[in-house]
Every structure is written in structure tokens, then in C-alpha cells.
Subunit: 200 residues, 2 copies
């Protein structure tokens, strides 16, 4: 086995661990994610799993990063080429609701699941979750400002108010779908978003 | 010690356990709530704690019930005498946002905290959380229908759409306050509620 091959194998194993960690933590939380569970699921030793990360916290941060990458690939990447402003806002919020309705994570919105787990704690994982939400809010605010400048939203629109409402509709949709199995929620969410964006 | 006295003492101890269980589970979750932790906090034996409930699940259900009672006392009871319909909707949503801004639970909205913990699982605790959210939604829908009948909301208003949006604004406020420490969120939430209720 050449060194190059070893690095490739190590990367592949690491990716397999992270992929399984994303699935497990989507349902059980990032604190509920145990090295022992991953080792059993992947038929590895605990030391073999931990060796790829060093600490449980490093595994948690890598897992969160991977989940955020999946969100970007599902919601952002497909709309990156749509015209900035209202057209892109409508396209991305539509994908966002679709992601909440029938998404890649078994536990629904990944960030919401880990938010409530970590919001009462301090530490690097909580900081990384907060940073992800802030970054997404900043992306949305930029699109809202572009829509205002283009005349697609009223000049007096407060971008912070629109971003707050879009985020609220998303977390509300997630709770309705995940907890209540409410199948009307995505339709109500899309209608509420169009009202919020004056795009009824 | 008379039997009457024993019952009273047992009730008081049970209430003390539940009160502590509400605090701990608000931050750590209802699954994270352990008999050992409660026993340590209350300087009791594990058997002494468990004896009041029989099973951990019974303790979880009693804890949830107590938390729901606190929500009712904070949000519903103070507005029960306000005129039904729009006046009561505005009063109770105002108290609801106040509860999320600076409420009795260290981990923010209790139901949201336990929702994300249990929404990927089955069982009696999850059923009880769902039932609590459905009951609250039904309370809100009744007020919306009263407001429509009184002419305070347009006749064509869909109560389900208004209830969805009010719930979304609440969970969005909770996430903004708890995860981001966003102090503007309650103001944005109150404005969004007034827009949703055509009460700007």
C-alpha cells in the first residue's frame, strides 16, 4: 500500500464516519452522537473512529460542517445562478421549504435540531451553529437589499424584519412537519413567504 | 405522623422533584433528565426519587405536564378575561412573546426544546408534546374565528394560515433569542404579529 493510497483510504473512511455521524446526529443530536455507536454502525473500533478526529468535539464540528454543506448543496447551490434579489429570494425560499418538507436529514432541519440542543450551552459547537445561522441570515439580507434597490420591495422595507420572518416561517414549518406531521404546513409557508415578499 | 400528614409530605416532595425536573429538562432535555442527577440535586436517594413516579417515563410526563401548566399560567390565564377574538389574540400573543423574551424556563420555550428532542421518536412523551401543540393551535384558531365573526379580521381569512404564522413567529423568536441572543427579535415578532392580524 503506497502512502498516497493510505491517505485516500483514510479520507474515504473519514468521510464514511462523517456521513454516518450526520445521519445519527440528525435524530439523536450532536451530544447524543457517541463514538461507540458510530464504531458499531461502521464495524470499526472506537479508537479507529476517534483516530480520524482526535476528540469528540472535533468529530461534532466536522459533522456540523458536513451537514451545512448538504444544506448549501440542497438550497443554495441550485439557485446561485438565478438573478439576484427577488427572483433568487423566491427560488431559494421555495427550495428551503422543499428541504424542510422532504429533505436529506431524517430529523428535519439539521441546524434547528442542534440549535435547541446547544443553545443553553457555551463552547465551539454552539458558536459554530450560531455562526451558520448568522451567515445564512446575512445571505438573505443581501438578497432583500438587492430586491429593495431593484424596486421589487418597497423602499421602506426593513431587511432585518423580512429576514426574521423568513427564518420564523422556516422553523415553524420544520416544527409542524416534524412534530405534528402537518402536511399543509409547506403550502401555508409558501403562501406566507409570498405575502412577506409582496409577491402574492 | 398521621396518614394525612404523610400524604401531604409526599405531595410536597413530589412537587419539589417535578419543579427541579422542569428546570433541568429545560436545558438538558427530557431524555437528558436522569434520576441520578435529580437525586443529587435534591439530596435524595435514587429510589426515593423514582418511588414517586414508578418509571422514568412517568416522571417525564409529569414534568412535561408541570411545564405546560407554567406556560398556561404565564400566557393564557392572565388574558382569559380579555374580550374573545382580536383583543384576546393581541393580549395573548404579546404575553407569548414576553414569555419567549424573558420567561420562566432557563432553556427558552419548553415545548420547542422537547419537540426537537422527541420529534424523531415515537412514544407517549412525543404524543403528549404533539397534543400540547395541537391544543394550543386549537385555542388560537378559536380566537381567530371569533375575530373573523366579529369583523376584526377579513371574512376570507384562513384560520389555519394565521395560526401557522403566529406559531412560526413564536418558534422563530425563540431561536433568535436562545441561539443568537438577538434582542431585536421580540420587537420584530410583535410587529410581524400585528401585520398578520391586520392590527398594525
Amino acid at each position: 500500500v503506497s502512502p498516497r493510497r493510505s491517505v485516500a483510504e483514510a479520507l474515504t473512511t473519514r468521510e464514511a464516519i462523517v456521513a454516518r455521524a450526520v445521519e445519527v446526529s440528525s435524530l439523536e443530536g450532536l451530544e447524543g452522537l457517541t463514538i461507540g455507536r458510530l464504531a458499531t454502525d461502521l464495524e470499526m473500533s472506537k479508537a479507529g473512529v476517534l483516530g480520524h478526529f482526535g476528540t469528540k468535539q472535533a468529530l461534532q464540528l466536522s459533522t456540523l460542517e458536513a451537514a451545512l454543506g448538504i444544506f448549501r448543496a440542497e438550497v443554495w447551490d441550485p439557485v446561485a445562478e438565478v438573478d439576484a434579489g427577488l427572483p433568487r429570494l423566491l427560488a431559494l425560499t421555495d427550495r428551503w421549504i422543499g428541504y424542510l418538507e422532504d429533505g436529506p436529514f431524517p430529523g428535519g432541519c439539521y441546524v434547528t435540531a442542534v440549535s435547541t440542543e446547544f443553545d443553553g450551552r457555551g463552547g465551539p459547537v454552539r458558536d459554530a451553529v450560531s455562526a451558520a445561522v448568522r451567515t445564512w441570515d446575512a445571505v438573505l439580507a443581501r438578497e432583500v437589499r438587492t430586491a429593495i434597490d431593484a424596486g421589487d420591495l418597497p423602499q421602506e422595507t426593513d431587511p432585518a424584519a423580512v429576514v426574521f420572518l423568513l427564518g420564523a416561517i422556516a422553523v415553524g414549518t420544520n416544527q409542524a412537519v416534524q412534530l405534528l406531521g402537518d402536511r399543509r404546513a409547506p403550502r401555508l409557508a409558501r403562501a406566507a413567504i409570498r405575502t412577506a415578499l409582496h409577491a402574492g
